[in-house]
């Protein structure tokens, strides 16, 4: 597979380039952007991040563990107060809430580290420092015979620089 990189100057140009490339039949696209941008996101039309599931798992684990820990401790070492059950669900809610947030936050960030950074750490030979400044990159993976077509679409979309990426 060959890779063609187009360097553009605005998120709007990048979003147009993505739509044009998709229209021309190119499906394997990667983009580089110095900012998060809804227009680019919409053009790429990727499924929602798995992180939302991890947040939910973290929150549910946190709240369940907190209630379990407090109720278990209340019966393991009972504080006998006349007429009252050992476990107090109402007051347990406070620590339940805090651990719900704590584990939710922790698992969300671990999800970012794993899915967003660890799994995506390789294959960025096309990256250039300008992509954290004022440039946007659009990388197209295609067969050797489609390189010319990809270059043409990228140029037409306003790319200031178009090159074939080695590696």
């Amino acid at each position: 597979m060959a890779q063609v990189l187009g360097v553009l100057k605005s998120p709007h140009e990048l979003a147009s380039a993505i739509l044009d490339l998709k229209g021309a039949g190119f499906k394997d696209l990667e983009v580089y952007s110095p900012v998060a941008n809804h227009e680019i996101e919409a053009a790429l039309d990727r499924p929602p991040s798995i992180i939302r599931l991890l947040t939910l798992i973290g929150c549910l684990t946190g709240v369940s563990f907190a209630y379990f820990m407090q109720i278990w401790v209340a019966y393991d070492w009972p504080l006998v107060i006349g007429g009252k059950p050992f476990a107090s669900i109402v007051s347990d809610t406070i620590i339940g809430f805090e651990l719900n947030i704590l584990l939710g936050v922790t698992l969300t960030v671990l999800g970012l580290l794993f899915f967003g950074l660890f799994l995506t750490r390789k294959g960025h030979e096309a990256y250039q420092p300008g992509f954290s400044g004022d440039s946007f990159g659009c990388l197209v993976a295609c067969h050797g015979d489609q390189v010319g077509r990809a270059q043409e679409v990228l140029r037409r979309a306003g790319s200031q620089e178009v090159r074939v990426v080695e590696g």
């Binding site: 680019i40 996101e41 990727r46 992180i51 947040t55 936050v105 922790t106 969300t108 960030v109």
Partner: protein, 447 residues
């Protein structure tokens, strides 16, 4: 309306240049300032060691006032720590785009303030090496902490807030650390390379990152409201006159946001001036923060009035006496400093000229910081010194050791913030740039 005259960045690369310029090697003045602040911290450390060696007898704490400057300062720093999350999480969910310029500084402040706050209960217990008694871990006799105690709730709340704030802060920093990695050429390049965790700004990375930020905002918004509520329950669940009231949770939360915003202004105004960031920390940002101050000052002022009203209306002589003592007893000066600084000093901010005058805002913010420290001091000290039995009434005067540690906490906060300025972008580059691109978008900048 005051004309906004600060220059606007003309190019996205200029945003990188202007903000990353702050990271350039320090000037002698900067080094002197860090040394001065570190000296304050050193003096505080000596005072702390002195107290650890001799015990809490070196403080002014004695029956009936067993909570003093340390708990006051703990509550103060927890309050300061609220602004970062308010600006980053709550205003993010409300889509208040002006937050983009101030959120990084506020988040950094939150992290440093909550770290300092977490130290104060440890300082307060005297035998700091016994702190693990609070941790949910059975001691040698198999006894667990009492999970029904508000002090244990507080441990969970503060630690959750500390960990969440640090993670939220770091996640927001990752794209900017990558920008710094691509820009600097000295040894820090390796530091930023390690800290940016291989960030390349790819669509996959942004997809997970934006979702993470959204979820962290969603989780931290109720968290920030819960933390100071839980802190307020340290007081409100007791039977002490002046403390045992249902108004405490919203009253504390509003006060925390009030003091937090004030501290953001106190810290960012000199940064704006020293690093020529007038084009980013603009007068409209101060205008908006001024409005937040007015809102929270009004809530706090209402709560002050309501406390007195409820004391009178309850016909409870202990409650009435406590509030009479608060306003006209030995510590009346603290009460009137609190009211003057928190209710009266923000009043000129109803005028737009004052809100957009940076110097005015800075002076007001310092008054508010002073007033909010005194608010906690008044609540704690007047409540404990004047409970039910006149034979058990007492008095509290902070000792030099306590005041030294108090001053050192400000030194530590400013030392950490000053070092942070040179290590990471104080303004969120990618978020400011996001606004810049939106403003340039052909359809007018809104999605």
């Amino acid at each position: 309306m005051a004309a906004i005259t600060e220059p606007v960045p003309t190019h996205p690369d200029q945003i990188n240049d202007d903000i990353l310029r702050v990271l350039e090697p320090p000037t002698p003045m900067y080094v002197l300032m860090v040394l001065f602040l570190a000296t304050l911290v050193g003096i505080g450390l000596v005072a702390f060691l002195y107290q650890t060696y001799w015990g809490l007898g070196v403080t002014g704490l004695t029956h009936p006032v067993m909570w003093g400057v340390y708990i006051t300062t703990f509550v103060f720093w927890v309050g300061i720590a609220h602004a970062g999350t308010l600006i980053s999480a709550i205003l993010f969910l409300f889509r208040a785009r002006w937050r983009n310029a101030v959120n990084r500084g506020a988040e950094a402040m939150t992290v440093f303030a909550v770290l300092i706050a977490a130290m104060f209960p440890l300082i307060h217990i005297g035998r700091v090496y016994k702190f693990y008694f609070m941790v949910p871990y059975p001691n040698q006799r198999g006894v667990w902490p009492n999970f029904k105690s508000p002090l244990v709730w507080d441990l969970f709340a503060i630690n959750t807030y500390m960990i969440s704030s640090i993670l939220f802060f770091y996640v927001g920093l990752i794209p900017d650390l990558a920008a710094a990695r691509d820009r600097v050429r000295d040894w820090r390049r390796y530091l930023y390379r390690a800290l940016s965790l291989g960030w390349r700004g790819s669509s996959e990375q942004w997809r997970h990152w934006t979702r993470t930020v959204l979820h962290l905002s969603g989780l931290c918004t109720p968290l920030v409201l819960s933390v100071h509520s839980v802190v307020s329950w340290d007081f409100a669940t007791s039977m002490v006159p002046g403390w045992h009231t249902t108004i405490f949770a919203p009253y504390f939360v509003a006060g925390a946001i009030f003091s937090g915003i004030a501290m953001v202004i106190t810290v960012l105004v000199p940064v704006r001036r020293a690093f020529h960031l007038e084009g980013y920390l603009r007068r409209e940002h101060f205008d908006n923060m001024g409005k937040l101050i007015l809102l929270t000052s009004s809530v706090v002022g209402y709560a002050y009035g309501m406390e007195y009203f409820m004391a009178w209306y309850s016909a409870n002589p202990y409650e009435q006496m406590s509030f009479w003592w608060r306003g006209f007893g030995y510590h009346w000066t603290s009460t009137w400093i609190m009211i003057s600084c928190n209710v009266i000093s923000p009043l000129p901010l109803w005028i737009k000229w004052c809100r957009t005058n940076v110097a005015w805002m800075w002076v007001t913010s310092i008054f508010i910081n002073i007033g909010m420290w005194f608010e906690r001091y008044v609540i704690i000290m007047t409540g404990l010194s004047h409970e039910y039995d006149p034979a058990a009434w007492g008095y509290y005067v902070p000792s030099l050791t306590e005041l030294t540690i108090l001053v050192a906490s400000f030194g530590l906060f400013l030392t950490m913030f000053t070092i942070f300025l040179r290590l990471a972008p104080v303004i969120a580059i990618q978020e400011v740039k996001e606004l810049w691109y939106e403003a340039q978008a052909p359809h007018g900048g809104h999605h």
